[in-house]
Structure formats: structure tokens, C-alpha cells
């Protein structure tokens, strides 16, 4: 029953996109988290998506999506000279996360759009299956 697999496929996409939304909100929430050294500073996190091929044959097209993991951005942290800050180091600098707010907002919009049309695909398939069940009545 091919239409049943739509629920698995779109469902996997929904969970992947919600993880992406969670990570984005965590990045935005911590955009101004200050620390006094490089190691303890929050770094922007991003999920890595991969097509879920396991359990499917090579020819199968019904492929869901998996979150392979969450990686931390390796781009340079922001440093600010603020000697009066209680968390500043001996040179008077504080460290701010490498969160790019614009990038995060774009990510958030993309994730919510993807979430929306996967819900749409599920809804449509549900209606088609119900119509098939009513066949001949």
C-alpha cells in the first residue's frame, strides 16, 4: 500500500524539521550568551540531514529523512572589548557566540515552510486513502 508509506516519509520529515526548528531557537536564545573564554562560549548548532536509505532497496524511491547529528559551527567567535563586564578576561575581552541571526531567521522560515508542506502531503494522502475506503459505497 504505497499511500500508507507517505505517512512514514512525511512523518520523518516533520520530526527532522522540528529538530531543525528546535536547534534554531536554541541558537537565537543563546545569541547573546557571554563567556570569558573561547572553550565555554556557545557555538551555533546546525542539524545534518540525510536521506534515510536503510531498510529500502536500491530501487525504492520511498525515502524518508534522517537527522544524522547536530554539528557546531566552527566559524570565529565574536570578541568584544568590555573591561567593566564581570565576565571579561584579564585583557578585558568577553566572548560572544558565533550565531548569525539573519542566517538563523532564514533557516527558521525554511524549516517552517518545509514542515507546512509535509503536513499538506500527509493530509492529502489521508483524504485519498479515506476516499479509497469509501470506494463503491
Amino acid at each position: 500500500m504505497s499511500l500508507m508509506s507517505v505517512f512514514d516519509i512525511s512523518g520523518s520529515a516533520l520530526s527532522a524539521q522540528s529538530i531543525r526548528l528546535n536547534v534554531t531557537s536554541s541558537n537565537l536564545a543563546n545569541a547573546e550568551t557571554v563567556s570569558s573564554n573561547r572553550e565555554q562560549t556557545y557555538r551555533a548548532r546546525h542539524p545534518v540531514f540525510a536521506a534515510a536509505m536503510q531498510g529500502f532497496s536500491e530501487k525504492s524511491a520511498s525515502v524518508g529523512v534522517n537527522v544524522k547529528g547536530v554539528v557546531e559551527s566552527q566559524s570565529e567567535l565574536r570578541m568584544r572589548y568590555q573591561p567593566e563586564h564581570p565576565l571579561s578576561n584579564e585583557d578585558g575581552y568577553i566572548f560572544l557566540p558565533n550565531v548569525n541571526a539573519i542566517e538563523e531567521m532564514a533557516n527558521m522560515i525554511s524549516a517552517s515552510r518545509s514542515y507546512e508542506y509535509n503536513v499538506e502531503a500527509m493530509n492529502t494522502s489521508k483524504q485519498l486513502l479515506l476516499a479509497t475506503l469509501r470506494l463503491g459505497q
Binding site: M1, S2, L3, S5, V6, I9, S10, S12, A13, A16, Q17, R20, F49, A50, A51, K59, A61, S62, V63, G64, V65, S110, A111, R113, S114, Y117, N118, E120, A121, T124, S125, Q127, L128, A131, T132, L135, G136
Partner: protein, 133 residues
Amino acid sequence: MRFNLDKAMGIYESALYVRAKRGSILASNLANSDTPNYKARDIDFKSVLKNAAGVSAASNLRTTSAKHIIPGGNSAASAELLYRHPLQAAIDGNTVDAQIEKTKFAENAMQYQTTLSFLTGKIKNLTSSIKGE
């Protein structure tokens, strides 16, 4: 004339199957619209339906030896998957265009319902002839 229920439903039975299959392929395209290096896929409905219909017609052929080959061995289950030609591929190697996939999905759903209503018509015809009303 012998009545055959397989033939009574015509091509719509195979068509419904292929439509459902295509629906799940398009749904996986939509699900993977943000997956790096994922290539959008689709099937050629016309040729797949031809194969699917060919198989059901061929299954009516009588074979007198195990070595006889039944034509049209390629069923809808092993439908040939093609790759969609990308108009504007993403920088991460993903070729899914969400707009195109959404339209195709809606189109496919519409055609699925059309096939369903044809089938309903067939079933109504059958029931009315059985009842003799």
C-alpha cells in the same frame, strides 16, 4: 461470454496503484527538500501504466510449459525510477524544487481521485446490473 472481474475494473485498477506509488515518490521528494545531495525522482506514468496493464493482460495468457515467457515482465512494483531534470539545482547538490513537487503532488492527488470516481462508476454499473433494477 464469461464474466471476468479483473477485466470489469479495466485499467483503473493498475492506474490507481501507479498513482499511489507516484504519490509516495513525490512525498519523499518533499520530505528530502532540505537534504544535501538528494536528487528528486519521479516515474514516467504512461510507460509504467503500460507495463502494469501489460502484466495483468499477460497473466491471462495460458502457458503449457514452465519455460514459456510471459510478456511484460516489468511490473509497476519495479517501476523504473527516473531523475527529475533540475531547473535550478541548490548549491548543496539537492535538486528538489518544492514548488514543482507540490504542484505535481496536487496534480497526482487529483488524478487519483478521478480514477477513484471512474472506479465508483464501474462498481455502480455492476451493482445495478446484478440487482437488475
